[in-house]
Amino acid sequence: MSIELKNVMYTYSPGTSYEIHALKDIDLNIPDGQFIGVIGHTGSGKSTLIQHLNALIRPTSGTILYNGEDIWADKYDRKTLRSEVGLVFQYPEHQLFESDVLSDVCFGPMNQGKTREEAEAEARKALSQVGFKEKNYGKSPFELSGGQKKRVAIAGVLAMNPKILILDEPTAGLDPKGRDDILDQIAELHAARGITIILVSHSMEDIAKYVERLIVMNHGETVFDDTPKAVFSHYKELETMGLAAPQITYIMHALKEHGLDVDADATTVEEAKRSILAVLNENKSALLKAEGGCLDD
C-alpha cells in the first residue's frame, strides 16, 4: 500500500501577485507499515503535503502513485483512496457533526456502503481502540472535552479501516496525560493493525519518542528524511528553520561539553538515562550507589 510522490510541485494562486510555491519538487516514498513523523515551522508546507496524500489537493505538476497507480489518472477511484488514506485534521471539533458520538463514527463506514449494523460494529471497535468509554457513546459531540473530541475524530477515520492514517497535530491543546494516552494508542494501532502512521507534530519530544522515520519540511522542500536520531543531530540547522531538537538532546550536548562522555545523540529520557548511568558506572564515580540492576528498564 505504498504512496510515491514524484517531482510534486504545488503553487497557491498561480499567476497572481499572491503566488506561493508551497511544495517544490517533492520526491517521497512511503512504504507499508512505517511510523513517520513530519515536522516543519508554520507555513513550511506540511499541511499542503499531507493533503496531497489522499487527493484533497491536486498537484500543480508531478505525479502521485498509490500502489503504483497514478491517483490523478482519468477514472481513478479517488473515493476508495480517501477511505484507505484517512486524515485527521488539526481541529477535531470541526469534523464532528452528528447528534451523538456513535452516529458520528458510523458516518464513514455507512458512506462506504455498509448497513447501520455493520457500521456500528466498526464504530464500536474503533471507539474502543482509541479508549473512548461506552457510557459516553450517546453524548453529543459538543458535550465532550478536547481530548474526547480528538478520540472520536480519530475513531471516525479508523472505522473506515484505513491502510494509512495521517494525523495533523493530534495532541495540540491536550494535557500531558491526554497527549501520552492518545499517542500510546496510536502506537498500539500501528503495532496491532500494521497500518502506516504519518504524524505531523510541533512537539519534538513526542516525535523522538514514537516515530521511526522523520521528514523535515522547510520552505516547501524536504530538507531531511532519516531516523529521528540522525535528523536531531543536525539541531543547529533545525534551529535556523524555526525548529529545535528535543530538550534531552540539548542536555546531553551540554553534559558532553562539560566532560561527561555521554551519547550526545540521545533523544529520549530513557536513552539519556541509560547513557548517563553507563558513563557514571564506567567512571566508577562515587555518585553511583545503586546496583547494576537499575540499568535494565
Binding site: G40, H41, T42, G43, S145, G146, G147, E169, A172, G173, L174, D175, P176, K177, G178, R179, H202, M204, E205, G242, L243, A244, P246, Q247, I248, Y250, I251, A254, L255, H258, G259, L260, V269, A272, K273, I276, L277, L280, L287, L288, K289, A290, E291, C294, L295
Partner: protein
Amino acid sequence: MGIIKAFKLGFDYLKYDEDGNVQDTQRAVNDVNLDIEAGEFVAILGHNGSGKSTLAKHLNALLLPTEGTLWIDDTVTSQEPELWKLRQKAGMVFQNPDNQIIGTVVEEDVGFGPENMGVPTEKIWKRVDESLQKTGMTAYRHHSPNKLSGGQKQRVAIAGVMAMRPKCIVLDEPTAMLDPNGRREVLEAVKELNRQESVTVILITHYMEEVIHADRVYVMDGGSIVMEGTPKEIFSKVDTLKHYRLDVPQVTLLAHELRKSGVDIPEGILTTEELVSALCQ
C-alpha cells in the same frame, strides 16, 4: 492586598432544558482562594477539564462567581456595574490566534482596544507604537495579520491587550497551537512585559518548560487548587504531578529517574545548567 484576590470562589455551569428550567448544574470551580501580588508571574497548571479556563475567565470578569468573591484591583467583580472597566485592568489572550484578531492591518488591530475605550486619536497611535515595540512587532505594523505566523499573531494579540494598559494580563494556553519558534517568541514577549513593565502575568499552559521561570505555580484538579509553590517545589513532586495528569520538564524527569537509580543529585532540577553542575562536579 494583591491585584487579584479570590475568596472561596465557586462557579457552576448550568444546563437548561427546552423550557428554560435549570436541568443540571456542574461545578467547574470550587473553593478557590488566590492572592496574586502586582508584578508577579503566576502560572496555573491542570489537566483538560480541571477548571483552569473557567477560573481564568473570572480574572477579567468574563464570568462572575456563583459563590465567593473575586477582587480585581480592590473591586469586587460581581458588584461592578461597568464590567468593561475591569477588563481594561485585566486583559486576556486566548489559545487560538485566529479567533482574536479583527483588524485587517496589524496596527489597526492593536489600536482597536484603546479606540473602543475612547482614547484620543494621537494617544492611540502612541500606545500602538509602544505596544508593537514591546512585543517586537514594529516591523510588521503595516502587514495583514493573515500573513503572519502563529507566534507573530499571538504577539499582535498581546500587543492589542497591552495597548489598553492593563495592570494584569491573563494568557490561556497562548502557545498550544504554535511551532517551537513561535512558542519561544511568545514566551519571551510575555517575560519581557513582566520584567520591564511590571505587568502581572497569569499564564495557563500545558507546557511544563514554560513554567520554570514563574514566581509561583498553582496546580488545579477538579475545580480546586491542589498544589501551590515555587516551580522548584512543585516539580520536585514528580509522582504527585503524574497523579494529576501532568508532567515535569524533561530535564526534571531525567534527574528524577537518575535519582531513582541511585545517582546522588537533588530533586527539583529545573534547567540544563543545574543538571550539568550536579553531574559534572
